[in-house]
């Protein structure tokens, strides 16, 4: 269970508060107007944004002492999810061992993950030699290999076309279902939220509200969300 306990983040005149829990295995969309703090919320959970007060807990343990890489989570950013100078295999290997000391078993797992994502035979390529959709698959494959119980998605598929994005969400559902992953996904598209996430966290007016069922929220949005959705 992920718990945000009386969390506040203050940066200059920006302010964000959150105080709620997410059950294990939940799939949650994070929605709200631009600049409301959706990315900041994910950054705080991942350990990139310092907390002004409050705590982030995973299964009751405070995450504060852990640097980002040692937290029980993977995060995919909007861009720069892969190192352009490393091959696909190396990029995936970093998910298993940051020093790339890989055993034969590790290599087999990497090959398996590539197969699974429909990327067989592309392990020796550099990211620039892949299409946008393939790059997203590599990043997802790395999250699959890391197999952390919490996955944060900061719009990693925003640059993809609608069909590709839907496909990614499908792959994501599958992986998350198998591994029992808790997923927190920033979304700008109500359709994505509806399709993927039974629960939604609304970030608006300086506050990340407790999760609520997505469909009623979108059907009957509060004013701040209504203005954003148009």
């Amino acid at each position: 269970m992920l718990t945000l306990e009386a969390l506040t983040i203050v940066q200059d005149d920006f302010r964000l508060e959150a105080d709620f829990s997410l059950p294990r295995g939940a799939r949650v969309a994070v929605i709200g107007p631009s600049g409301s703090g959706k990315s900041t919320l994910l950054g705080a959970i991942a350990g990139f944004v310092p907390l002004t007060s409050g705590r982030v807990l995973w299964e009751g343990a405070d995450l504060a002492p852990l640097p980002p890489g040692q937290r029980p989570l993977s995060i995919l950013f909007q861009d720069q999810n892969l190192f352009p100078h490393l091959t696909v295999d190396q990029n995936l290997g970093l998910g298993i061992s940051p020093s790339l000391r890989l055993t034969a078993a590790d290599r087999a797992r990497i090959a398996e993950a590539l197969d699974r994502m429909g990327l067989e035979g592309l392990g020796a390529r550099k990211p620039a030699q892949l299409s946008g959709g393939q790059q997203s698959r590599v990043a997802l494959a790395r999250a699959l290999l890391r197999a952390r119980p919490l996955l944060l998605l900061d719009e990693p598929f925003a640059a993809l076309g609608p069909a590709l994005k839907a496909e990614m969400l499908e792959v994501l559902s599958e992986i998350a279902g198998e591994q029992g992953t808790t997923v927190l996904m920033v979304s700008h598209d109500p359709a994505d939220a509806l399709a993927f996430a039974p629960l939604s966290v609304l970030v608006a007016d300086g506050r990340a509200h407790p999760p609520q069922p997505t469909a009623p929220l979108l059907a009957n949005p509060p004013p701040a969300l209504a203005a954003y959705l148009g």
Binding site: G47, Q80, N81, F83, L86, P98
Partner: protein, 514 residues
């Protein structure tokens, strides 16, 4: 978040070492000088000459560079790219080699005087203030040309298209597009060249001298080496530092350009004006190319045939120079990389300031200070090579940092989060992220400092003792004893090695990045 020692600690330590080296030597110089009372009238003449020649050299270089840059900008011809690349060469060319080339062309037995006497005209004299200024223009005209060319290339293509659509005549373009650009670029180029000429040593040593053409750097050398008057050398060192500080204050008023000037083509090309301007541009480009290339060609022409017959001392000197060059590039990388990484972190600004400190010192000032510090501990002759390595590394550091900092900033902005989210730290991060991403500026910095150190004839001239001659010093001694055939061969070797070192480092880093 790193296991082991975080990069900010390494960078901070490197910054402290550099600051201690520069400020420590300056303090030693200042302490020993104890004021300026040791300076005689000759020394003040040197101060005046230093300033005057720097003003004239910078002004001439910049004024002459404007038509060259404009012609290069608006014309396309075979070999244009090669010529622009060649304009970067004097920056890496050992000064002593360039002086040899200039003497070969403009000296008493040079091509120019041969032509003049064939025409029954009086000859030109290369030694004296005019020679010093000529050599400085040789070095800095190409630099100025590249900087100004960069300004021309930075004029947006849309603006040029609009000008063409409105039917601007050359005079209109000059007024509305080119003059505003020049007003921005020229002061920076002028100050950059002024700074270089202010610390000129080898040119004054070889082409100047005497009461009419001695720079402060040369006066330090003479006080140190011939008069063995350390007090005067130190006092002159203080004056040199003051001159650099004034120039840097000037530089603070204008924006100082990056050291190396423009690369090759970018942006759109519109056909240049036709008519007699075509002829003018062709003449300007031809003259600049001849002025730049003939001295280099003359050295190679006379020297390459003699390479095979060089005496063993020449190869020994070459070996020492290579060792100095490689050691100094390793040292520069060891300092610059952690400093650049630390400088782009929060509260890292002081690291950058420390890295720029060597700009206020010159080769001879640092040399004098280190001599004063080391004198009680060791025989200076035995330290000639290590001191040369340290001083050259320190003087190359600002260039290395200027190349590394923008890239380090981009690296931090683009990939710090990803690296942290994957738990990449320590050596793994250095190996898989930092080194590959920064290979280009690292290779450039290493090549630059290797070439600088290879050709340096500053500190080594102060400290030299038998058996420690580097290639430039060996060359200087050959020139002093008028063994010109050997000198030409050694100059060729020195030039080839300097360019090869830069090329090899730069090449290797491009390959690494592929």
């Amino acid at each position: 978040m790193a296991r082991g020692v975080p990069v900010t600690v390494w960078g901070g330590a490197a910054a402290l070492i550099v600051a201690a080296l520069v400020l420590g030597t300056l303090a030693a110089v200042a302490g020993f000088a104890g004021g300026l009372s040791a300076l005689g009238p000759g020394d003040w003449l040197a101060v005046r000459f230093t300033l005057a020649q720097a003003v004239v050299s910078a002004t001439l270089s910049v004024i002459l560079a404007v038509p060259v840059a404009r012609a290069l900008h608006r014309r396309r011809f075979a070999g244009r790219g090669a010529l622009i690349t060649a304009l970067g060469a004097p920056f890496l060319l050992p000064v002593i080699v360039a002086v040899m080339g200039i003497i070969a062309i403009f000296g008493r037995a040079g091509v120019v005087n041969d032509l003049l006497s064939m025409l029954g005209l009086p000859g030109v004299r290369i030694y004296g203030p005019q020679g010093v200024i000529l050599a400085h223009v040789f070095f800095n005209l190409p630099l100025a040309t590249r900087l100004i060319l960069q300004g021309w290339q930075a004029i947006p293509a849309e603006r040029l298209r609009l000008a063409a659509a409105l039917g601007f005549a050359p005079a209109d373009s000059l007024r509305h597009l080119e003059w505003p650009m020049l007003r921005e670029v020229l002061p920076g180029a002028w100050v950059a060249i002024f700074l270089v000429c202010l610390t000129s040593f080898v040119v004054a040593l070889t082409l100047g001298g005497g009461p009419r053409a001695t720079t402060v750097e040369l006066a330090i050398y003479q006080a140190f080496r011939f008069d063995v008057d350390l007090g005067r050398a130190a006092a002159l060192g203080l004056v040199q530092v003051a001159l650099c500080l004034v120039a840097l204050a000037l530089a603070g008023l204008v924006s100082l350009p990056a050291a190396f000037g423009a690369g090759l083509d970018r942006g759109a090309h519109l056909p240049g004006p036709a008519g007699w301007l075509r002829v003018q541009d062709a003449v300007v480009i031809a003259l600049a190319a001849v002025f730049l290339l003939t001295p280099i060609a003359a050295v190679l022409w006379r020297g390459v045939p003699g390479l095979a017959a060089l005496p063993p001392e020449a190869w020994a000197a070459a070996g020492r120079s290579l060792a100095v060059a490689l050691a100094s590039s390793v040292l520069v990388l060891g300092l610059a990389l952690p400093m650049a990484l630390a400088a782009v972190r929060p509260r890292g600004g002081w690291v950058e300031v420390a890295g720029m400190l060597p700009t206020v010192a010159s080769s001879l000032v640092l040399g004098t200070g280190l001599y004063l510090i080391l004198r009680p501990w060791a025989l200076p002759g035995g330290l000639a090579l290590p001191v040369t390595v340290a001083v050259n590394a320190a003087l190359s550091l600002p260039f290395a940092l200027r190349a590394l900092l923008p890239e380090a900033r981009t690296l931090a902005a683009d990939y710090d989060r990803l690296a942290a989210s994957l738990g990449l730290s320590g050596l793994a991060r250095l190996r898989f992220v930092t080194l590959p991403r920064l290979a280009r500026p690292l290779g450039f910095s290493a090549g630059l400092s290797a070439a600088f150190s290879m050709g340096d004839l500053g500190v080594i001239a102060l400290f030299s003792a038998p058996g420690t001659a580097t290639l430039p010093l060996y060359l200087y001694n050959l020139m002093g004893s008028y063994r010109m055939a050997d000198a030409a061969a050694v100059a060729s070797l020195l030039m080839i090695l300097s360019f090869a070192l830069f090329w090899a480092f730069d090449r290797a880093s491009r390959h690494a990045d592929a």
